[in-house]
């Protein structure tokens, strides 16, 4: 998702450059999601840095995760990873002997460092579990509508498709973020395309429609399955721009909307609407007179450029309250539409399909609360 921001290949930095690590990880493994990438890079950081005391480590972690956050336009997804990682450390350290035999910090550290890959494996296993779980939602002759490039969703659909021929026969309507007329066509296609081709290779009929055709397609569909970048405390999701719209339409047509998301995507945010999202994306630009395209273009480029320069090393936040306040300002502006996100409130979501089973939106907050309190 973030791949459009070319990773700054300046490895000559004094210490370990977490940002570049993060991006390299992302670009290395297509299946890697930002949260995992973040965790990975944090682990890498730990390995690189010789710190030994607990407090040091915690400081380092929080600080570098802040830098990481600020380095990308939309840090919601990755912050889920970094927060999870930090909380995990704190929790385990709070509980002496949690790791049975050894039980000291060194041991824990050892465990973390050694099992870097393991976590990725688990992340992927989680995805597989979700696919299994979600497959049950797909019945004989049903039509599924989806959007975005979520890996989980595609895994889910493919799992269902593989169960052919004895499995359920279903159709997929794929809403592509931008109509083919768009300037960033290739990329938009690229998002859904692999899934679409795979599905078709499994002889699952797939229809591609632009968002403008949503209402038209609505009567045909039986359920909506979407992915999410982050799942927030109230059970709402932050996802590809347009998901909210799908949710609204689905609700209006009385079709269920399911969200497939791994539990490590749960973010500690409580947005009540778009405005609360800690991302700055000026999708709606009010302009006095219409400006011609290339101008817009270069402006965009400029935005990206200076975005890279300013990385304000935010002083790490003890109290979450002002952290929230800070974060609002942090991060850079999202400029290209396909990176833009929106917030889908929980009341539009029928259920979340996680590796821990199918949760009602309100169950999500419980998980998070258990994480933070």
């Amino acid at each position: 998702m973030m791949a459009d921001i070319t990773p700054p290949t300046s490895h000559a930095t004094e210490a370990f450059d977490i940002v570049s690590k993060y991006h390299s990880l992302l670009s290395a493994d297509a299946d890697l999601t930002p949260p995992i990438a973040a965790i990975e890079s944090l682990i890498a950081l730990l390995t690189a840095s010789p710190v030994t005391t607990i407090s040091e480590t915690l400081d380092l972690l929080s600080h570098s995760s802040a830098t990481l956050r600020s380095s990308v336009p939309n840090w919601i997804a990755l912050s889920a990873g970094t927060d999870l990682f930090q909380r995990y450390l704190v929790q385990t350290l709070n509980r002496p002997g949690a790791l049975g035999s050894g039980g000291d910090f060194g041991y824990l550290r050892q465990h973390l460092l050694s099992n870097g890959r393991l976590f990725v494996q688990r992340a992927k296993k989680a995805r597989a579990k979700i696919a299994d779980e979600g497959r049950l939602f797909i019945h004989e002759g049903s039509t599924i509508l989806t959007n975005g490039g979520s890996r989980v969703v595609s895994a889910l659909l493919l799992r269902a498709a593989e169960s052919q021929p004895s499995g359920p026969r279903f159709r997929v309507i794929y809403v592509l973020p931008l109509s083919s007329s768009s300037k960033t066509l290739g990329k938009a296609e690229g998002e859904g395309q692999p899934t679409i081709t795979l599905l078709r290779s499994h002889s699952v009929p797939v229809a591609c429609i632009p968002y403008s055709a949503l209402a038209t397609a609505l009567p045909l569909i039986d359920l909506v399955v979407v992915g999410a970048e982050g799942v927030v405390e109230n059970g709402g999701i932050i996802s590809r721009l347009g998901t909210h719209q799908i949710g609204l339409l689905a609700r209006s047509a009385g079709k269920p909307m399911y969200v497939a998301a791994e539990s490590y995507k749960f973010v500690r945010l409580y947005p009540l609407g778009m405005s609360d999202l800690p991302v700055r994306q000026n999708i709606i630009k009010f302009e006095p007179v219409d400006e011609d395209k290339e101008e817009e273009e270069e402006e965009e480029v400029r935005a990206v450029m200076d975005g890279k320069e300013k990385t304000d090393g935010a002083e790490n936040d003890e109290t979450d309250a002002d952290a929230m306040a800070k974060r609002r300002q942090q991060g850079k502006e999202i400029t290209s539409l396909e990176d833009a996100v929106d917030f889908t409130p929980p009341n539009l979501i029928s259920a979340l399909i996680t590796e821990n089973g199918v949760l009602t939106p309100s169950a999500v907050s419980e998980e998070l609360i258990k994480l933070w309190f």
């Binding site: 965790i39 049975g100 049950l136 059970g235 089973g357 939106p361 309100s362 907050s365 609360i369």
Partner: protein, 478 residues
């Protein structure tokens, strides 16, 4: 099975009688057959039968010579039986529920075996009691995390224990504070529990040795060899059997418990609409009638249940009460309790809804997302209520609450005897028209405003909490 006289069609009673005499395998097969032939149907009979059957199964579980029965073995046995029962009649969700409850019991015992001290002991108590009485004890016990945290060796069971207790504490608060359907209230009460954080979200990072219950199907999965045998020679079966006994009690008491909330929900001179015949609702209304005067509009639910409804209203309950074992309690009719009863055909429901203050319904089963599987026609009532903004209250014992998520609603719908729609002998249409008679119906959670279980009132979106108290996550699919 001598007592089963020729003049009797096999049913619940004959089955329960035979339980004492027959070996458990036979009983299982018999029960399966009865389920298949619908000779035991409706939630409570199924639940009761299952509970008694499992009690017998547990009692007859074989141990290796010399040794006591191990939890693991017992677990396998019950699981195996449970699978067969569920397979026999997937639509009777309560069967699965009871099986899960029993499995939960066994796991608790298993945790005890692992030398888990007071905590999981307490939690096992919770596991059972949460269904039975108001779970004050656990919530007090967990008032301060420390007390539960004093340096015991940690293991999954412990977390489970805490988790359970905490959530049950949540339920506890639910009972006191009126539930709101907005999740925003969530933190306010869950924090009461103040249990130490144990979250499945760590499953990603967690160290193999502390795998959370979800990531590994069964804690310290079978072959109890590793686990130390209980020092006291108490056979695990005893506790489990007692536990099942408590479940059975719960099954019998749940109606009264639900009824005990009647006065909170029914107020003087209200007009209550109810649908189909349910002893739960019946008792609820009767209880309220003891203090208040109100009117009940009773829709007859043609074609599957109208006879029973009429019987209920007119008071000659000679027709058997599917939903109850003991009919004696129900000879007292609503009218005799001083309630004004209006019997209406289903077609009049919408028309009359505008006069109604509250709709009180019973259900066949509740699914984890708060959806109902109920007598067909329930949705009609619920929707009519929605249209007139009349609150819909659903009464149900927690034993009807299934951890299953309705992936495929059609799966739960049973199509019944067509000849009830029109009699066969004037079957002009037999070839020309296809007649259908769905007995059950799927009602989405959005149709229900509130559930009253034997634990109190809950909003649909909170049912998952009770599910979690009641069932171990590893048992969700048996």
């Amino acid at each position: 099975m001598a007592p089963d006289s020729g003049s009797r069609t096999p049913g619940l009673t004959s089955f329960l009688r035979s339980l004492s005499s027959e070996p458990d395998e036979t009983c299982i097969e018999q029960f399966i057959a009865l389920l298949r032939r619908r000779q035991i149907r409706h939630s409570r009979p199924c639940a009761v039968a299952t509970a008694y059957l499992l009690r017998r199964v547990v009692a007859q579980a074989k141990a290796e010579p010399g040794k006591l029965v191990e939890a693991a073995r017992l677990l396998q046995r019950v699981q195996e039986v449970g699978r067969r029962l569920v397979a026999a009649q997937p639509r009777e969700l309560v069967v699965g529920n009871v099986v899960r409850r029993v499995l939960g019991l066994i796991r608790e015992e298993q945790d005890n075996e692992r030398g888990e001290g007071d905590i999981s002991g307490l939690s096992s108590e919770v596991g059972i009691e949460s269904g039975l009485q108001t779970p004050q004890i656990p919530s007090l016990g967990k008032g301060d995390p420390l007390s539960s945290l004093n340096g015991t060796t940690r293991a999954t069971a412990d977390m489970q224990a805490l988790h359970t207790s905490q959530s049950s504490a949540g339920v506890d608060t639910r009972r006191t504070t009126q539930p709101a359907s907005r999740p925003s209230l969530q933190p306010s009460h869950t924090t009461f529990a103040g249990a130490p954080p144990v979250t499945s979200m760590f499953s990603l990072l967690s160290h193999p040795t502390m795998s959370s219950p979800r990531s590994s199907p069964a804690p310290a999965s079978p072959s109890g060899t590793a686990t130390p045998h209980p020092t006291g020679s108490n056979d695990i079966r005893q506790e489990v059997i007692e536990g099942i006994g408590e479940i059975i009690d719960e099954l019998e008491q749940s109606d009264e418990q639900i009824a005990s909330y009647a006065l909170e929900h029914i107020h003087a001179n209200e007009v209550i609409l109810t649908y189909s015949s349910s002893t739960t609702v019946q008792r609820f209304l009767l209880k309220a009638a003891s203090k208040r005067k109100f009117t009940v509009i009773h829709a007859e639910s043609y074609p599957n249940n109208q006879r029973k409804v009429h019987a209920l209203v007119t008071g000659n309950t000679n027709s058997d009460h599917s939903d109850a074992l003991t009919t004696e309690a129900f000879h007292k009719t609503l009218t005799s309790a001083g309630i004004t009863v209006i019997l209406i055909p289903d077609s009049a429901i919408f028309a009359l809804m505008s006069r109604v203050n509250k709709v009180i319904l019973s259900t066949h089963a509740i699914l984890s997302n708060g959806a109902l599987v109920a007598t067909s026609g329930t949705k009609l009532v619920a929707k009519a209520a929605k249209a007139h903004h009349v609150p819909v209250v659903v009464l149900s014992g927690t034993y009807k609450l299934s951890p299953k998520y309705p992936y495929d609603p059609d799966m739960y719908i049973e199509y019944g005897d067509v000849s009830k729609v029109f009699p066969y002998q004037d079957g002009e249409l037999v070839e020309s028209v296809q007649v259908e008679n769905p007995i059950l119906e799927f009602v989405g959670p959005e149709c229900v405003d509130m559930y009253v279980t034997n634990l109190g009132g809950h909003a649909p979106s909170y049912l998952y909490r009770i599910v979690r108290d009641q069932y171990r996550d590893e048992d969700v699919d048996i």
